[in-house]
Amino acid sequence: MPELTYREAVRDALSRAMREDDDVFIMGEDIAEMGGSMGVTQGMLDEFGAERVRNTPISEMAIVGTGIGAAMQGMRPVVEIMYQDFLTLSMEQLVNQAAKHRTMSGGQLKVPLTIRTQGGAGWSPGAQHAQQFESWFVHVPGLKVVFPSTPEDVRGLLWSAIYDDNPVVFFEHRLLYPLKGEVPDELEPIPFGKARIMREGADVTVIAIGRMVPEALQAAEEAEALGISVEVLDPRTLLPLDEEAIIASVQKTNRCVTAHEAVTRGGFGAELTAVVQHGAFDHLDAPIERVGAKFGPLAFAPAMEQWAVPHAADVLEAVKRTVARA
């Protein structure tokens, strides 16, 4: 199987969809000549032209709103919001409009729009360029929320997002872009709502998303040396959520840790915890532990930043705490 980086895998899904389907186009800031601030769309202007690879003004609300309008006409726009932090500028269109047209119209309208965005700490971006907001969107009925962690998943899930008839908020992680992984020759659409067991284990289930998936895998490796067998599960889509797979895993391991890069309080780990304690109550041998960033705006200086955001070591500590409880 060929290897692609996560970045190339995103580009591959976009390019294939645009080759096959005139209704797919992309728009966003600096995605054309520059190929996007993360280089994801490099080369696409040359292949598809300026009509379908559209640079936009700095107008995050209108980028999403225009995408909604085109999607309502049956096109399948994929819009890019350069940093998740700027999703804060599009919330109205995402939450009140994209998510609601279908219900409000009594089923007359569909909004097949994909909103790609990225973020992540680890490069001293400061407080306004590294936030992680996936948990907000899980609270918004009508949206779907995806956050893949491998090249194969990001490609297959992006394809599914483009062809989903609902608005999908699609999170990528900045530090994952250069990571390589095998992907099938043929693009396999990956259905929403199916978790992936990244590593099997017997003692504790770590449910991780985004960058915390590789961190959890590393923690699992280190735990193994300590005689702790860790199962790592990546839900991949946060909404819909594969509750069945999650509960089955914890019913097997009897312990659970959640891990994301967003601040812990109010994060997606809370929702996971609520689901797990409900579905696997009688199986739990220890409180569910949540791993996430410490509760502060991200400080600039690298030492403070590294301390604030979670790493494999934090996952390992949490794993140890759950096991200690036995």
Binding site: T56, G65, I68, G74, Q97, R102, M104, Q108
Partner: protein
Amino acid sequence: MAKVEKKARSEGALSDERLRELFREMLLIRRFEEKVEERFRAGELPGFLHVAIGQEAVASGVMAGLEPDDTIMSTHRAHGHTLAKGTHPNAIMAELYGKTEGCSGGFGGSMHLYDVANGMLGANAVVGAGLPQVTGTALAYQFRKEDKVAVAFFGDGATNTGVFHEALNLAQLWKVPALFVLEMNGWAESTPMSQHLPITDLSQRAVAFGMHSIDVDGQDVEAVFTATKEAREYAASGKGPVFLNVRTYRLVGHYIGDPQVYRDKDELNELRETKDPIELLRARLELSDDEFEQLDTEVTAIVEESVAFAKAGTDPAPEDALKWVYA
């Protein structure tokens, strides 16, 4: 550069017959909304309702200037636009009663009227929020080389929103076939323009984008028609969107039940006497009292029928609430 044209009152653009049809439509809108007020006060209508009494000529004039396949998006004040676009009064009234026969299946209500088959892509309860979606709809028409224009209605208050700026800017940058119809009625809820706008001539808003703009007297249905037709041709020919700066009057409260404590009653009464677009057109058409009565009887019957239809409609089952969350 934006061209700001002052339109003189147009003469003779429409036949008397067509004008009479528009008169009848405006009267239907008026009677429909009066009925809505009445039924709301009677406690029959749930939710939050806004009527556009005084602004009927804008709805009828704009729709008359469009082609049937053109599409619109409207605001919280959407009954007139929706009726003029061709949605059956029964479907609208049923929606206000929350019935499955309503134009949004009972899911929307007054602020969320939809009739996609008729080119009504949705009313919006968030001020300004439809504007970028109109830009996007028009972008799809441009992509597909369809001979259609997308039309946004919005008020003077909406011109203060950030999304107004972003949506019109993008529409002009990409020269999409869209019309932006500003219904300048002088108020945003209880706030007069002097308190919410630093300018009085709102065509200046279009200058910021270099957008072609046309000033229109919104109490004159023929003038609105003419301006719209011209604007539509301009936009459809690929020259870019057009800003229609329509001066009109809200002859009632912001919402049904608004005591209008903030408004001078004498001034309001004077406006009612001098600016009512229906009275103005009635005078121009020189309708006899008999002629008027006949039309009035006709449209009143349609309105009454819509109420009967709505009341006889089906209440959605409670658990239908989740029927359309996802496609």
